[in-house]
């Protein structure tokens, strides 16, 4: 028997090699490039540069504000939708839910093109409202990522809990704020991480809406175009640290760390 479980274990080897080569190695390369100069010698210039230049710090600040606003807007739209869907007695619940997920199967650049045409019709010149347009664009793009985890969590709440709250004299509002809302926090957290991070990095949404504002992702894009691998790596490392901090902070409350994006698709 021992021999057989050995065989099955070996099946994982190609993927282990793949992960080491193309997931772990690139990270080490990023760290190496972030802390070396063009001549290949060790330097902390890129690191200090990031925290002393006003444009990089300004971009970081702007990204956080934009991502925060987008996340709040997404949450304000997604929570009622998820709640109504999860608690409704509609027969075709799964079909309506599907309707909210479906747009994700249409290429996001095509969807943003559509949004751009509509916004142009309304505003005439998109350049005048860069911040609002970015929030609309990102919300349009990431909304399903917020709806799905919240819907799943509310669906999982034991119905007898709200019934018990009602029996014990709680009003509908009270049973919502005291029972449903606290229990749906894991879904909210999972949705927040799925919206917040892309909102800091998906600079194509801004580019396509004729935006001249910069977010963290745009910095990587412009260093890539300028063949500046060292500063590009530095920005990547900063983003990676933010991402790891966020996952570490939310991972515990979320309960499950894996397949976050996946949850939204299936």
């Amino acid at each position: 028997m021992k021999h057989n479980s050995f065989f099955r274990r070996y099946l994982g080897i190609p993927y282990i090699i793949y992960l080491v080569l193309f997931v772990v190695m690139p990270l080490f390369v990023l760290i190496y490039y972030a802390f070396t100069g063009r001549d290949g010698s060790f330097t902390v210039k890129n690191f200090i540069g990031f925290f002393t230049q006003s444009n990089t710090l300004g971009t970081l600040f702007y990204s956080v504000v934009l991502a925060f606003t987008t996340t709040v807007v997404c949450l304000l739209v997604a929570y009622p939708v998820a709640y109504i869907l999860a608690t409704s007695s509609l027969k075709k619940k799964s079909v309506i839910l599907m309707a909210f997920v479906m747009p994700m199967w249409i290429n996001f650049t095509l969807r943003i093109t559509a949004l751009k045409e509509i916004l142009t019709l309304i505003e005439h010149n998109l350049a005048f409202h860069p911040f609002i347009n970015s929030v609309i664009g990102m919300t349009y793009d990431f909304l399903p990522f917020m709806i799905m985890p919240i819907y799943n969590v509310i669906m999982g709440i034991d119905k007898s809990l709200t019934e018990a709250a009602g029996d014990l004299g709680a009003s509908t509002l009270q049973s919502f704020t005291k029972v449903v809302l606290p229990l749906s926090v894991p879904g909210i957290i999972s949705g927040v991480t799925m919206v917040f991070l892309p909102s800091m990095t998906n600079y194509v949404v801004l580019d396509m809406l004729y935006n001249s504002t910069y977010i963290m992702g745009s910095l990587i894009g412009s260093y890539f175009s300028a063949y500046d691998w060292h500063n590009g790596s530095m920005i990547s490392i900063v983003l990676l640290v933010i991402i790891l901090l966020m996952t570490a902070l939310t991972g515990k409350k979320d309960g499950k760390g894996d397949g976050k994006k996946k949850e939204a698709y299936v």
Binding site: G12, Y15, L30, T113, A114, E117, I243
Partner: protein, 263 residues
């Protein structure tokens, strides 16, 4: 009653926010207008341009070929990885889970940039070989296959595998005839997810693709910067076709899902 109306209105408002832009664009794709506004006349020019311009055709075929190839490799690697990890010691399993999670939580921009720096700058690989592009897409997709397969392995009845061996099946045969059939739903959903992710990707593609190759994402982004209106409106037609295909797919899924529930 009023409460129910409000609920339905909220759902409708959210749905129209998501569908109005695509819907309006779909209507305009059948006209000769170049901007959303007054409709001048109906025309199928956009669809004719879409199917007769070689550049557009190559881009669409290329996007799907890339998605299919990357999804196949990712499904193969991810599935075997999940089986291997499932039967490994706790330390190996936990390490694999953690590393597998990195591309999932990481921003695509960072994943794409890091693979570009490693393969193109450090190793000196030629972008035109398509190897960096495929590796990039597999790195994006395989972790999702892995996470789709693991839960199915946990649900699997392990004694069946042991029984197959006791009855004289070889390890390979027990794997293909007993284990794989039990986890196939996870493999299929992982594969579908891989296709979706690859089709939707922009960042990893930009950082690793050959200069002359474009996927739908990179092509659309370049087209919005460019000034060729015939190309721009042909993309409206593409968006409409994908929209219709997705709707058909969802309807078919719903019908088959409904049937299997009845059984």
């Amino acid at each position: 009653m009023a409460k129910k109306m409000i609920k339905i209105l909220v759902l409708l408002a959210a749905l129209s926010f998501m569908y109005l832009p695509i819907g309006i664009l779909a209507v305009y794709s059948f006209t000769d207008s170049t901007t959303i506004g007054a409709i001048r006349g109906l025309s199928l020019d956009n669809y004719i341009t879409l199917f007769t311009t070689p550049e557009l055709r190559d881009m669409i075929v290329g996007t799907f070929a890339l998605a299919l190839l990357s999804a196949i490799i990712a499904t193969f690697l991810g599935t075997l990885g999940a089986i291997g990890s499932f039967y490994s010691k706790r330390v190996v399993k936990n390490t694999m889970n953690s590393i597998n999670n990195i591309p999932i939580v990481n921003a695509d921009v960072v994943t794409g940039f890091s693979i570009c720096v490693l393969l193109i700058i450090v190793v000196g690989m030629n972008k035109d070989t398509f190897i960096p592009l495929v590796i990039g897409h597999v790195t994006l997709c395989a972790p999702f296959v892995y996470t789709s397969v693991i839960p199915k392995l946990k649900q699997m009845d392990n004694s069946l595998y042991e029984a197959a061996l006791d009855l004289g099946a070889s390890s390979t045969k027990a794997l293909t005839k007993v284990v794989i059939p039990q986890i196939i739903p996870g493999i299929i959903s992982g594969f579908m997810l891989a296709i979706t992710l690859s089709l939707d990707d922009y960042f990893i593609t930009t950082y690793t693709k050959p200069a002359s190759f474009d996927t739908v994402s990179t092509y659309v982004v370049n087209a919005t910067r460019g000034s060729q209106t015939s190309i721009k409106t042909a993309l409206w037609a593409l968006s409409t076709i994908i929209f219709v295909l997705v709707i058909i797919f969802v309807i078919v899924m719903n019908i088959t899902a409904g049937k299997s529930e009845e059984e």
